[in-house]
């Protein structure tokens, strides 16, 4: 079970994993909250690649994750993006305070870590309150991307992985938010109880932490933990 934002990267990692170990990995994606509900109701998932660190922790408390199996596998990166070429200049703050700005898209901070991060950045700039009436929210970072890509929202905070994935070319203008402006978007992986006795599941987690997978993760626009 893979958080939606990581789906493409996970796909490629799974292929690498299969090439290397001969095991097949079946990937299911979904919003982390949904995956939580399903796992809590006994979904037959063996490995969880969450979009946050709290969900695996919570599952561990509830006894659904093999204790001590979770670890950070990727660090999300945030980018302020516009589909218009000239909109974001050297100073991103200008774009954010532009009076012509109608809508700024972020992911819902309550639902998605990327949203919370975007909020942090805006608060850091001191524009959070001023922008309230212009905020539109996607339920997840993928939808947020759609809001910006369609041009319905002129600006939006999206996952860098969406823009930088191999063979992606969305153009426009962008400002890659430096890591220090928001709490790290740590994405944790965990071995679920259903996968406890499956060597392939354990192997997948090992592969995920390995160098090949890390390279793939980097190529998709994520960071990797030190």
């Amino acid at each position: 079970a893979v958080a939606a934002n990581f789906a493409d990267a996970a796909e490629e990692i799974a292929q690498g994993f299969t090439r290397q170990t001969g095991h097949d990995a079946l990937i299911t994606t979904g919003a982390t909250g949904k995956l939580y509900a399903q796992i809590a109701q006994g979904a037959p998932f063996e490995v969880l690649l969450s979009a946050d660190a709290t969900t695996p922790a919570r599952l561990e408390v509830e006894g659904l994750v093999v204790p001590k199996s979770s670890f950070a596998y990727a660090m999300g990166k945030l980018t302020l993006w516009s589909a218009d070429a000239g909109r974001i200049g050297v100073d991103p703050k200008l774009a954010l305070t532009d009076p012509d700005l109608r809508f700024l898209a972020i992911a819902n901070p309550d639902l998605a870590p990327y949203g919370a991060a975007a909020r942090e950045v805006l608060e850091g700039f001191g524009v959070w309150d001023a922008l309230q009436s212009r905020l539109v929210m996607g339920q997840n970072i993928g939808q947020t991307f759609g809001l910006v890509q369609s041009g319905a929202a002129e600006l939006g905070f999206v996952a860098r992985s969406g823009l930088d994935a191999p063979d992606a070319d969305f153009g426009g203008s962008r400002w890659d938010v430096p890591d220090g402006l928001f709490a790290p978007l740590q994405q944790d992986a965990a071995l679920l109880m259903a996968g406890e006795d499956n060597p392939a599941a354990v192997a997948f987690l090992q592969y995920l932490a390995g160098a090949d997978a890390r390279a793939t993760i980097l190529s998709f626009g994520y960071g990797v933990p030190e």
Binding site: R102, F103, L111, V136, Q139, G146, S150, G151, A152, A153
Partner: protein, 225 residues
Amino acid sequence: MTLPDLSPLWLTLQLAFVTTLVLLAIGTPLAWWLSQTRSRAKPVIEAITALPLVLPPTVLGFYLLIIMSPRSAIGAFWVDVTGSTLTFSFTGLVIASALYSLPFTVQPLQAAFESLGRAPFELAATLRAGPVDRFFSIAAPMAKRGFLTATVLSFAHTVGEFGVVLMVGGNIPGQTKVISIAIYEQVETINYADAHVLSAIMLLFAFAVLLFVYAINRRYPMRLG
């Protein structure tokens, strides 16, 4: 336990109400035309009116977003005329919901109109009722049951639906955040208690409305003779 924020409920009711009205206003003439026409295009149009259903709501919403965004011709035109965008507005929500629920209005109405046969219309015509008059004095009242079905399905579907609305509306609290999105969020953020409360309110409310509608329909039933 405190009551969750209820403003999405009112917004939902407004949206469902306006959407249903818009749907009846658009769907009724369309259904009427379909029921009467001998045009060869009829099956094509019938098929098209059912199409919005087959796309997943968020995907339909995504395409509508593209069509209605200020960067498209339609969206730009709208901005020129009204000064505000179609996306992320109540108007945009209504358009999107109406498009998505259109089949629920058109299909039952068309079926109801077709079941009337020609006899009452011939009769009305001999009594000097022109086409518009015939529609309002004969077709509409005789197809009452079809209107009931169309209204209930369209209204309920608009209340529950959120994929399209989410995409086109942008989930702006007080403006485009409807109750279905609110409940969805509670579930996603694992606030199950609030989700239960909102769901219960919604179900009870909907049940009360529907019960009222059906009880009235039972009091004043209509049969064909």
